[in-house]
Each structure stands twice: as C-alpha cells, then as structure tokens.
C-alpha cells in the first residue's frame, strides 16, 4: 500500500467513493428488478408479444436514455478534472537537474545499478548509543568528536586508494590527509570492544552501487533511467516500480526516461521491475533508502 502522502492515495479514495456509488445503484436496481419482476408477479398478457420471426414492439424513452448518458458524462467530466492535477504532477512537472537530487539508474538483465550525480552522505550510529559521534570532513582533514571523553574509540577510514586508522582518546581526534572527493569515503568508528558504533559513507558524484541507492528525504528525487545490454543479449524493456511511492516508469533502451518524486518519510523501500524482461524478471529488485536530511526529519 502506497504511503499516505502520495497523490495516489487521495485520488484512489475519490475514485473508490464514486465507484461504490455507481456500483450500489446498479446492484440495488438489478436485485430489485430481479426480485420484484419475477415470473408470476406480472400479468404476461400486458407485455409485448414475442413470436418467432416477428420483430417485437420497440420500447424506448428518449429522455430516460439521455439521462443515463448525460449524468455519467457529468461524473466523468468531474473525474477528468480531478485527475488532471495528478497528470501534471506526475508527468508534466519534471524538475530541472539543478533543483533535484539526480540519480542515474541503469537497468540491465536483471540488476538495477545506480550512479549519483552529486555527493550524498549516509551516516548511522548503532542503536542505543549513549553518546553522539560527530564526523566532520573538510579539505585535508577528517575530524571526529564524541560526546563522551571517557571512551576510547578507533576510527578506520578508507578513500580509495588511501586508507588509515587512528584513535580518539579524549573525546576528539582527527587525521590530516588529502581526501579524494571523487571517490567513496568510508569511515567506521569502533569502541574498545570492537563493536561498530558509527558508520559514515560519503558517496561522491559518479560513484554508486548495484541494487542499493540512498536519497535524501524531503528533496525532489529525479531518476534518469536507461537500459543497457549485457553480453550478447539485446538491451530490453524494464520498468522502475516503487510501490511505496506509487510511481512507475518504463526503462527503454536507447531512450532516457525520467521519474521524479519527493519522499517525505525516511526508510528503506523495495524497488521492483514491473515490465517483463526475461527469465529472472521477478527477482530484479533493489532497495532505496531515504536518509534524513535537514529538510525533513524522520526517525533515522
């Protein structure tokens, strides 16, 4: 079931409301007619005579027939107007690359690969951690401070091809090193017993992973999707489908399709392929994680 804040849910409720009304009219009418006008309840001699080979007397009522043409037409006109907005929102309001957080999605048989076009930082402290761990990365320095001076922490970092390790003893520590911001920077903070207390990953523009993508919460996400071939097989159609956000768009070889959405809740959601793409179509899945940003809170 898609999230409450999507346009889908609002529209779905409107359509369900009118569906139930229309359905109720038809069914009540039908059951009434079937029960009230059964054989034996009406004098058949008053009805038109049906004889083989004779076209029976016609029955019509122009006003009635126009009524059940025009009233549904009004309803349909109303529904068209209601849905016009979603048409614009979902397909006609594509943000520019500058406004949105742009992710390139490359669909292959049977994998989703993602590439960031701007850096994103994913940070997570282990559950129940009693003191905060803050990581500051600036040109040439990784600085770490923890909220408690009593604990000794070990910091491991890697930034291909460089990597290193240093300790924090009095609540603060840093290392001076040249950081290549074109590469992924990973920092792991461990306590004295070797448990991971905090993890930090900065995905640089141009990097990415297969089957997993992080996006910021509260910001418009723009997916630019292409389909690529693997081996000798031709590239095929796929469709990016994220049930939680109720969005879907085909991925077409030789064409860049676009999907955009503004997530308002953090969490990890499944992405599936909705356009049949061959043998392992059902297992072509990925995960999208919405990480909290200053625009939108959430529990993370």
């Amino acid at each position: 079931m898609p999230a409450e804040y999507t346009t889908f849910v609002g529209l779905y409720d409107t359509f369900m409301f009118w569906s139930i009304i229309v359905g109720a009219i038809v069914f009540v009418w039908m059951f009434y007619a079937v029960l009230r006008f059964r054989k034996g309840m009406v004098d058949e001699s008053t009805l038109e005579k049906l004889e083989p080979g004779v076209f029976p007397k016609e029955r019509e009522n122009f006003k009635l027939e126009m009524a059940w043409f025009i009233i549904p037409a009004i309803l349909i006109g109303y529904l068209c107007i209601v849905s016009w907005n979603s048409l614009y929102e979902d397909w006609g309001n594509s943000p520019s690359d500058d406004e949105a957080f742009v992710v390139e999605a490359i669909a292959t048989q049977w994998n989703w690969e993602f590439k960031y076009t701007e850096p994103i930082i994913v940070e997570e402290s282990s559950e129940g951690l009693l003191y905060p761990v803050n990581i500051g990365v600036s040109d040439g320095r990784i600085a770490i401070s923890s909220g408690s001076a009593q604990v000794n922490l070990t910091v491991k970092w890697s930034n291909e091809p460089a990597s290193g390790e240093f300790n924090i003893t009095d609540g603060e520590g840093h290392v001076d090193t040249i950081i290549d911001l074109q590469e992924i920077l990973e920092i792991t903070v461990k306590d004295e017993e070797g448990n991971v207390v905090h993890e930090y990953t900065r995905y640089a523009a141009g990097t990415g992973e297969s089957g997993q993508v992080y996006v910021p919460c509260g910001k418009e996400i723009k997916l630019k999707m292409t389909s690529e071939r693997v081996g000798d097989a031709d590239a095929v159609l796929h469709a990016f489908f994220l049930p939680e956000w109720a969005v879907k768009e085909d991925v077409v070889p030789n064409l860049e399709t676009i999907l955009y959405f503004t997530p308002q809740e953090t969490g990890t959601y499944d992405v599936v392929c909705a356009e049949y793409c061959g043998m392992k179509h059902a297992y072509m899945t990925a995960q999208i994680t919405v990480v909290s940003s200053n625009i939108c809170g959430g529990e993370a």
Binding site: M1, S19, A33, P56, F69, D234, E249, V252
Partner: protein, 765 residues
C-alpha cells in the same frame, strides 16, 4: 490443362524450396544449449569413451560445512595413453557453491569449467571450492576427464566421466534421487492424453449415433464429413469445440502457475516454465479459446438470425477454421523442445526479438509462436471479410439494419473492429518475425524503435478487447430480453452504444502505454478518450436494467449467467476507470490490479456471456435442453469460486505486487491472498467441468426442446432444432410488430432519394 498443372506444381516446388531454405537458416536450429555442435552435458563428443581412463576429484569432503573452502584436485589417470605436450582435458559442473581457479589453466565455458589451451598439458588441475551457505543442501559434482595421446587429432584419446554427491553436514542421509518429471513433460503428457481422449470421445459419439451400424469405415466417412464441411452450422460447431478444448488447455496452464504462486519462493515451476506458461495462457485464452468460441456462435447463429442460407463464402469460412489448428500447433511448438515462447501475450520487443544472449534472450520457440500469430491474423481476416459481406448482402426479407437482432449487430460491429484493427497486429508480428529470422532491425534497440511495436500491438489490442466483449453484450441483450418476456429497452440506443464503443475503442490504445515513455501530451488525450468509453457502456448497462423492470423474469441457467455477467462486468468496468488516471496508473500499471480488472471483464464479461450463450442456444444445435439442475450447480459453484479467486487480486495490486512474477518474497505479505486465490482458482476450474458433463449428458438424455424453447423472437427460433441444411428452404420473411407508421427522418429521406437505400430491403407492411 496438363501445362497449367505442371506450372502450378513447379511453383509449389519453388515455394517449398524457399521455405526449406528459410527453415535451415532459421535460428531455431541453435535452440539447444550450446548449439547442435556441442553436447554440453555429455562431455566432448570428439573423443572416444573408454573404461581405461579414470577421473577422480581429490579433496572432496564426505559432507561439507557451510561456507568453507575446500582444495580440490581433478585427476585423470590412464596408463595406456601417454602424451607429451598435450596430455589431457576435463570438464566439471557443480550445481552449488563457487570455485576459484587459476585463469591460465582453467576457464568457464557453457555453464561449467574446462581447461584452457595452456591447461591442456597436464592431467591434474587444482581449484578451490567454497561450499554454499546452506549446509542442508546436497551438491552434485559431475566431472569428465580425457586422456590425450598427444597428437593433434582427437583419435586415440579416451575419456570417462563420473559424478559425486556431497551433502552438507545438516542434510541428513543422502537419499536415492528419484528422477522427477519436469512440468513440461507433464504438460506434454496431458496434451497427448487430451488428444487420445478426444479421438476416443469422437469414436464414442459416433458409436452412440448408431450402435448397430458401427464400423471403422463409417467412422472415417463421418469424420471426413466433419473435416470437409463448409456448412455454417458444421463449421460453427467445429469452432465451438475447438474453443472449448483450448479453454481447458489454457485453464490447465493457469492452474499450473497458480500452484507455483500459491506459496512464496516456490519452485514448482522453473522461471522459464512459468514465463512460458503465462505467455501461452494469455494467448490461448484470447486467440484460441474466446475468439473461436465467438466465431462459433457467429457462424451458427448469425445466418439463422438474419435469414441467410449460409455465409457469403462457405469455403473461405472453412479455411478460416482450418488455419487455427496449425496456428495452435505453432504457438505451442516450443513446448516440445522445452523452449516455449516466453514473451508474454503482448510480445514486447526488444526482448522478443533478442536472440543472441542464451537465457537473457527470448526462447527459440518464439519464432514459431510469432509465425502462429500471423496465421491467426490470416484466419481472423478471412472471417471478417466473410461476415461483413454476409451482413451487407444476404439479410432476409424484412431484416433491415434497424430490425436486426442485437446479437447479429454485436457480431457485425465486432467483425468490423477486428477487420480494421488486425492489419496493425499483422504488420507488427510480421516485422517481428523478420527481425527474428532475417536480421532486420525494425525493433532493434540501436536503430529501431521498440515502442513502435507497442503502438502497433495496442492499436489492435484494445479494439480486440471489444471484439470479444461486444458479442457477449449481444448475447446478454438477447437472453435478458427473452427471459424477461419483453423486447429490449432502447433497441436503437443499444445499437448506437455498441457502434459508439466501436469507434471510441480505436482511439484509446495509449492507456496501455501510459508509463512506456510516451509523450505526456498524448497521455492526456488517451486518458480523456478512455474515460469516454464508460458512456456508451453505461447506456448499455442501464438499458439492460430497464429491460428487466416491469418484465416477468424466468430464471433459467442462461438468465443466471446473464445476470452474473451484469454484476461482474459492472465491477470490471468500474475498475477500468482507475487506469487512465495518471496518479492511479503510475501505481496500478502492470500490477495484479490490472490482472484482476481484465479477468473481471474477460472472464466475468466474455466467458460468462459465452456460458449464457451455450445454455441459451444449446437446444438449437442439439434439439435438447441442457439439464437445469446441473446448470444451477455449475452457476453457483463457478460464480462464487470465480469471484473468490479474482477479487483478492485487486488487493494484491493495491499492495503493489507486479504481474508476471515467478515468485515473491516471504516477507512481502502476498502469501495468504495468493494461497486463497490458488485454492478458489482450482475450484473454479473444476466447476466448469460440470458444464462439459452437462453438455455430454444432455445431448442424449436431455429434454426435447422443440423449435422455440425460450420464447425468443428472432428468426432462428422459427426453424427446427437442429435446423436443416441448407438452413432455410426459402429466404424467410421477418415481420414487424411496430404497426404505427414511422415517418422517415431527414437522413433516411436523403439516403432514400440519392442512394436508394432502404427501399430494397424495405419493410413489408
């Protein structure tokens, strides 16, 4: 005379030669894994098998621990054959775990490991096998080793093979593996069984007709009569039986993959089988079951209803039917090699035209499948020409356009739509066939346009939906009016509504492609047009309801089915309104909501309409009524189980379960609903057998029907049941109960004046 005969046969030989060459050039021959040149699982055929060689894997544990590394050595021993430089080779397949090896000596090929050119100089090879994480599995190692005598030719070499089963520590004792038959084999057996049963049934039916005069020679004659008939009633019954048979086939396919879907992560069917089965299920149900059934009713009933002796081109009609069995065979042919078409019934390229990538490309059976679609198109085109001509030229006296029974009108409109939309499909599948066989690039990704095919297919595909459902409208109009002992309410608006659906149906195809990457401006047009379809459909529903008011409804089985149609079709129609809307379609497209919707209109609409038609017109074919008690039982079981099976699919769609998935995750929450669906689907499938039993039983034992058992008014009820051949001794006259004079309207006056229409077929007062 002789000359012309020779010329024709010369041409035939020429054509056959072309077909032969085309077949040789067809990629069909590389269908088997690895091509016809390699026997991937038997070792290399170019060497000679020999007992003198022994091959062993050294270092295999008796039982493995999870995710542990084992050093393995494959060793080939043969003291008789000694080579110098080239000494030996091997091939190893392991079904689980991963293997790390030295790239210089060993390579991966055809799903297994083998030596490289450099690794040919030795008789033992080292590698590291990492066992799978699941230590309850049994891993199978198959190895072949070859002792080479060192000369370049394969002669004098000797190979041997062996296999090992290594169980995980928690696997329990290794059990003797019983070779289980794959579902494909089961299905094939079912097909063969059905064919034998049909032959037996035909024999039995023939025997019953005249037990004393039974002989095989007479049986041959009788069979020949059926196979060469051009009478519209004979061809109609052939169509009906063909359609019913393929309902069974399509139904069995559906139950097979419903079993696969019943529990999460099931492996009852492999992915290949699942994909092929739902492809064949869709194509079978639409093209081999529903369409032939409709063609059957059209053939049998329409000439009787409009007072024609037969169809305009009886031989073309028979040809149209006899194109179906070879087409069906072509569609299913891939199953016989385990490479059945797996391209879904919509056949979207580039997957369906992709050939080079083994498992990543469409199965080889696709080529013949697409060929079968071309044949189906040819068959339907012939029917279209035939029916349209019949309607325009062969109506009886008094059967003017606006005095034609609604079933005939529905067939006319549906045939028109079919005839107008088919070229798009035929062009599309022809281009696809060329892409697959001679390497054209209409839909190839680098130069062609895959979305073009979607447009072609849906320009046909959407009208096709109405092609099958409009005849059901016709049936229900006839059945409800007759059962309520009344004339239909708003006859004229019914005709206009059907024609309206026929026109609007051609401009809505894009709603199948709203998320295909099509231009958003087009999407709005398609959305608005699609919503318009609801208007004429609504008029029809309300007219049916108005027909019931004030009537005297007789509850026969066909009435129940028509009322059931009204219920389910309304639900299906309402759920159809959700799709053209952007915000809803973004979610619903290609989910189970779509599956639910089109089964509500296809089964609840078309099939229920056809069931109603079977109960309604069965007395006309056989002269006997179907058993009402069995009919009621059939209606109750089938109607309830049908709704119980398909209604939950809406919920699955809202939850986000996509269509065409082989399985789904355990924690997805789809499991319970899928299990429910499967159980009810099986009940639905079985319940329809009641109707088959009823049809067989009533043919002999049913109550005598007489010419007009239900009190219908159209001309077919004025002739005997079954009607004689030719159907009318002289062209019948349809009278008209509307005595009051209708002054001609403006358009009619103009038409009469300039085109003299209306006078020729003018109503005799």
């Amino acid at each position: 005379m002789l000359l012309s005969k020779t010329r024709i046969s010369g041409r035939a030989v020429f054509l056959l030669a072309i077909i032969g060459i085309a077949l040789i050039a067809t990629p069909q021959f590389t269908a088997e894994k690895g091509g016809i040149d390699s026997r991937a699982d038997d070792g290399c055929y170019c060497h000679t098998a020999s007992d003198a060689t022994s091959v062993t894997i050294i270092g295999l544990p008796d039982s493995f621990n999870a995710s542990t590394e084992y050093n393995l050595t494959i060793s080939v021993v043969n003291d008789e054959i000694i080579g110098d430089a080239n000494q030996g080779g091997f091939r190893l397949t392991v079904n689980q775990g991963t293997i790390v090896y030295d790239d210089a000596k060993i390579q991966t090929l055809d799903g297994g490991l083998t030596h490289t050119a450099e690794g040919n100089d030795q008789r033992s090879w080292d590698m590291v096998w990492t066992s799978p994480a699941d230590d309850t599995k049994v891993v199978e190692f198959k190895v072949w080793g070859n002792a080479v005598n060192g000369d370049v030719s394969p002669q004098g070499d000797a190979f041997a093979g062996t296999s090992y089963d290594v169980a995980g520590v928690n696997a329990g004792p290794i059990q003797e593996v019983v070779e289980s038959k794959r579902a494909m084999v089961v299905l094939l057996s079912v097909v063969l069984l059905v064919i034998s049963l049909m032959t037996l049934a035909a024999l039995y039916v023939f025997y019953l007709r005249n037990p004393d005069g039974f002989s095989m020679a007479n049986f041959g004659q009788w069979l020949k009569g059926w196979m060469t008939t051009t009478d519209h009633k004979g061809v109609g019954l052939l169509y009906l039986n063909f359609g019913l048979l393929f309902f069974l086939v399509g139904g069995v396919l559906a139950l097979l993959f419903r079993i696969q879907l019943a529990i999460p992560m099931n492996d009852f069917l492999t992915e290949q089988e699942y994909n092929s089965f739902f492809t064949l299920h869709g194509t079978t149900m639409v093209f081999l079951a529903a369409m032939p059934m409709i063609a059957g009713f059209a053939n049998y009933i329409v000439p009787l209803q409009i007072g024609a002796q037969d169809l305009a081109f009886p031989r073309v009609n028979a040809l149209g039917f006899w194109l179906l069995p070879p087409a069906a065979f072509m569609l299913f042919a891939g199953i016989f090699s385990g490479q059945a078409a797996d391209i879904t019934w919509v056949m979207y390229p580039p997957y369906s035209t992709s050939t080079g990538g083994a498992d990543m490309s469409a199965n080889a059976g696709t080529t013949l499948f697409v060929g079968g679609m071309i044949l189906l198109g040819a068959s339907s085109t012939l029917s279209g020409v035939n029916f349209i001509t019949t309607f325009f030229t062969m109506r009886g006296h008094g059967v003017s356009w606006m005095k034609m029974p609604l079933f005939s009108w529905s067939i006319l409109i549906s045939m028109f739509m079919l005839f107008m939309s088919l070229p798009a499909l035929i062009i599309g599948v022809l281009m696809m066939f060329l892409d697959r066989t001679i390497g054209s690039v209409f839909f190839a990704t680098n130069v062609g346009d895959p979305i073009l095919f979607q447009h072609l297919f849906w320009f046909f595909g959407h009208p096709e939906v109405y092609v099958v459902v409009i005849p059901a409208f016709g049936v229900v109009s006839e059945v409800l009016a007759t059962s309520a002992r009344r004339s239909i309410f708003g006859y004229k608006s019914m005709v206009y509504a059907m024609a309206g659906i026929g026109v609007v149906g051609f401009i809505v195809w894009g709603h199948h492609m709203l998320t295909s990457g099509m231009d958003p401006k087009l999407r709005f047009l398609m959305m608005a047009a699609t919503m318009l379809v609801a208007l004429p459909t609504g008029v029809k529903v309300f007219n049916w309801l108005a027909t019931l008011l004030g009537g005297s409804l007789v509850m026969k089985t066909h009435t129940l089915w028509a009322l059931g149609f009204l219920l389910t079709f309304t639900l299906g129609g309402i759920s159809g309104m959700f799709f053209p809307v952007a915000g809803l379609d973004m979610h619903f497209h290609d989910t189970y909501f779509v599956v639910a919707h089109f089964h509500y209109v296809f089964v609840g609409g078309v099939v229920f309409g056809l069931f109603s038609a079977i109960y309604y017109w069965y007395p006309k074919w056989t002269g006997r009524l179907l058993n009402e008690k069995l009919g009621l039982l059939h209606f109750l079981t089938a109607f309830i189980s049908y709704n119980a099976a398909f209604w939950p699919m809406h919920r699955l769609g809202i939850m986000g379960m996509p269509r065409r998935t082989h399985s789904y995750a355990v924690d997805s929450g789809y499991g319970d609903l899928n299990m429910t669906i499967t159980i009810w689907a099986i009940i639905f499938g079985l319940s329809n057998l009641i109707m088959v039993v009823n049809m067989i039983y009533s043919q002999k034992k049913g109550q005598e029907a007489g010419p007009d058992p239900w009190g219908g008014w159209s001309i077919e009820w004025s002739t005997t049941s079954p009607p004689p051949t030719p159907s009318f001794a002289e062209i019948p006259i349809q009278k008209d109960a509307n005595t009051e004079h209708h002054p001609d309207g403006f358009v009619t006056k103009l038409a009469k004046r300039f085109w003299a229409i209306g006078e020729k077929k003018g109503v005799k007062k």
